[in-house]
């Protein structure tokens, strides 16, 4: 059975965590930590749900999301952009959306994350309990190993930029083979998350997209760049193909929007 600690502050929560990071998990929505009951004997939980902000604040183009906001909170909020709502709706279970928090979805760093590819494409930034903040890319690249820092907010500097978002799975609620997100702000940003390969930014593809309108070149480059493994969602080759065509489609659509502007 899980030992649950109820800290009075986020600092206290972090202190608990750092005492035994290997066997400690933060508990907010619980959809990750409690999943399949395996954690019951493995971890102690530090309950932070009442300590983490759940506000969603839109200031002009800037969107600040409290890490305690649930995916359904985002779906229900009038000022959240459609792309972000759509990413939340990739979790097709409303019950799950009502439980899963934004912070938990980021911190669990899953290869089938509902949010990460889009937050990457939107140039998201994560803020921590100690006031520190960093780009999501850096967090995912450098902070993958748990340090104990608690995500308190996610900031999207411009949530109005055009994005392309797709997720491919056999059925609506099974594990996806692939999620891609592309955006066009000052430049293209391209993210791909495939089962068996954690999400990554495809900067070579972004550069090529600026230089070339040739879909085939994009597709080829994507397929050379990512190397997802064979797994229950399909072969690596299938995922490479799909990533290629979806990203090429996304970039074409975004280029169309650039022309419109």
């Amino acid at each position: 059975m899980m030992n649950v600690l109820i800290p009075g502050s986020l600092d206290e929560a972090v202190m608990h965590y750092r005492k035994d990071p290997q066997h400690t998990r933060y508990l907010a929505g619980g959809t990750q930590v409690n999943r399949l009951g395996r954690s019951q004997s493995l971890y102690q939980g530090v309950l932070i749900s009442s300590l983490v902000d759940a506000d969603i604040i839109r200031e002009d183009k800037r969107l600040t999301i409290g890490a305690g906001a649930t995916l359904q909170d985002l779906v229900d909020h009038a000022q959240v952009p459609e792309s972000l709502k759509r990413a939340c709706l990739f979790a097709q279970s409303r019950t799950l959306r009502c439980m899963a928090t934004v912070g938990g979805n980021i911190a669990s760093v899953r290869d089938d994350s509902y949010l990460l590819p889009l937050l990457g494409a939107l140039n998201g930034e994560v803020q921590f309990h100690d006031g520190e903040s960093m780009a999501l890319d850096i967090y995912l690249g450098e902070r993958r190993e748990p340090s104990g820092s608690i995500i308190t907010r996610v900031v999207i500097p411009d949530c109005t930029i055009p994005v392309f978002l797709e997720r491919a799975s056999r059925s609506s609620q099974t594990k996806p083979a692939l999620t891609v997100a592309c955006s066009l702000g000052d430049q293209f940003r391209v993210y791909c998350s495939a089962a068996g390969q954690f999400m990554r930014r495809l900067q070579e593809v972004e550069q090529l997209a600026e230089q070339s309108a040739d879909d085939q070149r994009i597709i080829s480059l994507v397929q050379r760049t990512i190397h997802p493994a064979d797994d229950i969602t399909g072969t690596g080759r299938y995922k490479q193909y799909l990533a290629g065509v979806l990203i090429a489609q996304g970039l074409q659509e975004l280029k169309g929007k650039r022309k419109e502007v």
């Binding site: 899980m2 508990l27 959809t31 229950i232 299938y238």
Partner: protein
């Protein structure tokens, strides 16, 4: 430590560990409708509650997360004894079948309509998106929602929820409340788990990590020494008796090829040791203390591997025959390995276990060579179908206890009497020492036709005297529950240029898995429930079933028919293409009609001699005509998106109604002192509405309202024998028995009334409501009851019937669909799906529609999404509902409609035939044809994944 929270409006301080799983806490506190069907996956939603007004999965929370919050469980919906608008509307719409998740659905719909009284169908999909319901395919929830929406404004609102049939009848063919619906929608005590006592032990199973191995040593001493461990069972101390797990009529065609525990494990997940302990944690710890050494053998995972001459042998066993042993048996057994145990056949089934051949059979009519030589066009294709899981919401569960010196088994089973026989045999005790009580079944779909856990729990109880509760985890459900057999079916068809079939050859190769449950009958059923759909003079079939070290197989709704239909109908679609003929025209030219004789059934007797059988009612023509109109068969549809290709397909289907000559059902009915009736049926209602069928038949015969007939069913001590609920036998066999028992008591009622009224029996008739009317006077059932039970009368009136038959009643149907194939991503979207089915007289029309929707959605899942995936060592890679890929409400076709094609069958009770299994036979071949129509490709293996479509389109190599 105490945690305070408000549950259903009442503040409570729960003395429990804050880290304990909330679902467990709530169940223990008596909120039994917060159930567990996925072990905290956060997917199936049996554990749905509201927390601060929003839906949540209780299993994904620990108690501490609920502290100081408002928790609402489905129990809150009932106001005293009064159902809420939502609950009543769900019952009225016919969505309550097996019911395991129905309280959760009621809670979610309540939350939705509280939030938005004008909720749309789209909102209903969103609200129900977090629960899995396997039995009814979700569609009727939209009807329930319409009732809720309107009744919130006008509580008296009602509408037609399903068409009604037979104006000449009062109950049969009419929409009536399912007899157990209130119990299920409110979450009352109903399932096995609700019956366990507080002091019951828990049984947990140590399972093999290897697909194929000998246990060379097993040390349970540390486990046995652990305080709280009551018993450990292994192959070294279990009964030395061989039996099979298939719940089929004795003598079974399935071999007795296992003991309770074997020295050889034959699939990853096979039984190694059972621990009986005071609680689950102790059992888990004890399991971790068992030391097992294995001699690992090469796994056998495919048909090619299993049938290879050099393949590792799963059952290099001593073979015995109860009858019909071959002359060379002694030499056959000479090289058997004693560690492999025995295989005992009741009679020959074409097996050669030393070559992994579990069963085989061949047969045919006419001359296949002649037929093909006379054909202008011949095609031969192979269709592969994968291993699919039944995934009942209530996992396999049993509770066993001693009552005096008798063993009582509370079971979630389709076959109470087979269960009693098999358990008694396994334990070596007589059947009169065993009582089986079938509780409500939270989904079976065939998997609860097999005895997968009851034998072990019963043995533990019998040895220790302790009550034992054993529930499969969801993972165990995937690795140790029966699945539908893997099959490769090669179909060869020959036809004249005009499309008339000249010859049909079907070669079925199947994998039975580690043991031979249904190894002859399921694959043979692929032939017997598909070939008779088409008229052809020259027909041949071969069936071979092999042992393999894959998870077990067994019965699954439809048996082998969904796979046989997939192969045969798909081949017909390909033949039409080859002939350059419209597929529908080809089918219309060849399908059976009323009056046709099915000669092929002479050689498809499923382990006994068959007989040619006439088709005496057939709604195929109606179904085809209606489907053609609905789908607009002759219109080609295109998309504005050049990547999207749209196509249409269909398939015709059939099944049986039980197994004439094999099945046997009994019922009795008694008149109580107030003139009401108590019906005892052997039938096992799986949630499909069989009890309602039986009550309808009895009340129809006896001219009373349904509430005048109470029913008890599936209790081996208190109800008469029934072979069980499988092979679509419920309405036809168990229902007929109830009808005939009612007719039997009717004659006794008339006889008693004749004495009372002093009129001859042939001047009397039963009239509604519960009267016997003569030429001059009439008498009520109340008066008859008082007269007969007065002490001077003839005594309590009782009717009894034992129903067997040689007559067949075949349900038919046609399924049509329209799909959009994205040729760039391979994604298939079902835009329209129409299921048109002939079940004779639909006894429960609303429930019949639910059966169709459920069967179709299940097999859409099999066709497009679901697949038990194993690695090269035979380990299951996706043993949970999400990764396995069951369809949810969010996967419904855009348009999904079922219609009932009325026929009046001369042999079925009130003209009724079966409904459920046949629904599973159309989706695969209809989708197969539609995908080809859309994209020009034939995907000949399940599931039709985007990857397969893209490969077939040569998008990548």
């Amino acid at each position: 430590m105490a945690v305070g929270l408000r549950i259903n409006g009442i503040y409570k301080r729960l003395h429990a560990d804050p880290g304990e799983n909330l679902q467990r806490v709530l169940q223990r506190e008596g909120y039994r409708s917060v159930r567990n069907s996925d072990d905290g996956e956060g997917f199936a939603g049996s554990d749905t509650i509201l927390v601060d007004g929003r839906p949540a999965y209780a299993s994904l929370m620990v108690l501490a997360q609920a502290a100081d919050r408002d928790v609402v469980t489905p129990e809150a919906l009932l106001e005293g004894r009064r159902l809420s608008v939502v609950q009543q509307s769900m019952i009225d719409a016919g969505v309550v079948q097996s019911g395991y998740n129905i309280p959760a659905a009621a809670l979610l719909l309540t939350e939705l309509f509280d939030r938005n009284p004008e909720a749309t169908d789209e909102d209903v999909i969103d609200a129900l998106s977090g629960i899995f319901i396997r039995d009814i395919g979700y569609v009727q929830f939209f009807t329930a929602a319409e009732l809720i929406r309107q009744r919130l404004k006008d509580p008296s609102y009602t509408t037609e929820v399903a068409p009604e049939f037979r104006d000449d009848l009062r109950q049969v063919g009419k929409v009536r409340e399912k007899v157990d619906a209130r119990k299920l929608v409110t979450g009352m005590k109903a399932y096995v788990e609700d019956m366990k006592d507080a002091d019951a032990c828990v049984l947990k199973m140590l399972r093999s990590p290897h697909a194929h191995a000998y246990i060379t040593s097993i040390d349970v001493s540390q486990a046995e020494a652990l305080p709280g461990v009551v018993m450990v069972i292994t192959h070294e101390n279990c009964p030395d008796r061989y039996y099979g797990q298939a719940g089929q009529g004795f003598p079974e065609p399935s071999p007795y090829d296992r003991r309770m525990f074997n020295q050889k494990v034959r699939h990853a997940g096979d039984r190694v040791a059972a621990v009986v302990a005071e609680d689950e944690d102790i059992a888990d710890e004890a399991i971790s203390l068992i030391r097992v050494a294995y001699e690992v053998l090469k796994p056998v995972l495919t048909i090619a591997e299993a049938s290879d001459e050099a393949a590792p042998i799963l059952h290099n066993s001593v073979v015995e025959y109860v009858s019909g042993a071959p002359d060379d048996l002694e030499s056959y057994n000479r090289h058997a390995d004693p560690r492999d145990g025995k295989v005992i056949y009741q009679f020959p089934i074409g097996a050669d276990p030393h070559r992994n051949l579990a069963a085989s059979v061949s047969g045919g009519i006419g001359s296949i060579e002649k037929g093909f030589s006379e054909s202008d066009v011949v095609i031969e294709r192979t269709y592969a179908s994968s291993q699919v899981q039944c995934t009942p919401l209530e996992t396999h569960t049993v509770y066993t206890r001693m009552e005096d010196n008798r063993l009582v088994i509370h079971a979630s089973t389709q076959v109470p009497w087979h269960l009693r026989r098999i358990v008694a045999s396994a334990l070596g005790i007589s059947e009169n020492r065993v009582r089986v009580i079938k509780e409500r079944v939270g989904g079976g779909y065939g998997s609860k036709q097999d005895i997968l856990l009851e034998d072990v729990a019963a043995y533990a109880t019998y040895c220790t005297g302790r009550s034992v509760f054993f529930r499969f985890t969801r993972e165990e459900e995937f690795i140790a529950n029966s699945t539908r057999h893997v099959m490769d079916i090669t179909v060869k068809l020959g036809a004249a240029k005009d499309g008339k079939l000249k010859a049909m050859n079907m070669h079925v190769q199947a994998l039975t898995g580690p043991y031979g449950n249904h190894c002859l009958t399921v694959p043979m059923n692929a032939c017997s429930k598909s070939l008779p759909l088409l008229l052809c003079e020259h027909v041949h079939f071969d069936v071979e079933t092999y042992y393999a070290t894959i998870p077990p197989t067994g019965a699954y709704q439809g048996y082998g028919a969904p796979k046989g239909s997939f192969a045969l109908m798909s081949a017909m679609a390909e033949l039409a293409d080859e002939l350059g003929m419209d597929y529908l025209e080809l089918i219309e030219k060849n399908h059976v009609r009323t009056g046709d004789m099915l000669d092929i059934l002479k050689c498809l007797g499923e382990g006994r001699e068959g007989a040619a059988v006439p088709v005496e009612s057939c709604g195929l023509e109606q179904a085809l005509q209606r489907g053609k109109e609905l789908i607009r068969w002759d219109e080609h549809v295109t998309s504005d998106d050049p990547d999207i290709k749209i196509g249409k397909g269909f398939a015709i289907i059939q099944q049986g109604s039980g197994l004439p000559g094999l099945d046997h059902s009994c019922a009795d009915i008694r008149m109580l002192a107030d003139g009401s009736f108590m019906l005892h049926s052997g039938g096992a209602d799986l949630g499909t509405g069989l009890d309602t069928v039986s009550v309808k038949f009895a009340s129809e015969v006896l001219c009373v309202e349904m509430d005048q007939v109470a029913i008890l069913s599936g209790d081996t001590d208190n109800t008469p024998f029934d072979t069980g609920a499988y092979a679509s036998s419920g309405t036809y066999f168990s229902g007929s028995a109830s009808m005939l028992a009612a007719k039997d008591i009717r004659t006794k009622i008339i006889s008693a009334a004749s004495e009372m009224l002093q009129e001859p029996e042939d001047h009397l008739e039963l009239v509604y409501p519960g009267m016997v009317k003569g030429g001059k006077n009439s008498v009520s059932y109340l008066d008859i009851a008082r007269y007969t039970q007065s002490g001077t009368g003839r005594g309590e009136l009782m009717g009894y019937a034992s129903f067997t038959t040689e007559k067949f009643s075949f349900p038919y149907g046609a399924h049509f669909c329209q799909v959009a194939v994205n040729t760039r991503t391979g994604k298939v979207k079902i835009q329209k799906y129409y299921a048109l089915q002939d079940c004779g007289t639909p006894v429960n029309p609303d429930l019949a529609l639910g059966q169709i929707y459920g069967g179709v959605l299940k097999t859409i899942g099999h066709s497009l999404y679901e697949q038990l995936q194993l690695d090269k060592q035979g380990i299951c890679l996706n043993a949970n509902l999400r990764d396995y890929g069951v369809p949810m409400v969010t996967d419904l076709p855009d348009v999904f409609a079922a219609e009932l094609m009325y026929t009046d069958d001369p042999h079925g009770p009130y003209g009724a035939k079966s409904i459920s299994e046949v629904s599973c036979n159309g989706a695969s071949p209809a989708l197969f044809a539609a995908i080809h129509d859309a994209a020009g490709i034939w995907i000949r293996s399940w599931p039709f994944t985007p990857e397969k479509i893209l490969r077939e389109l040569k998008r990548f190599s």
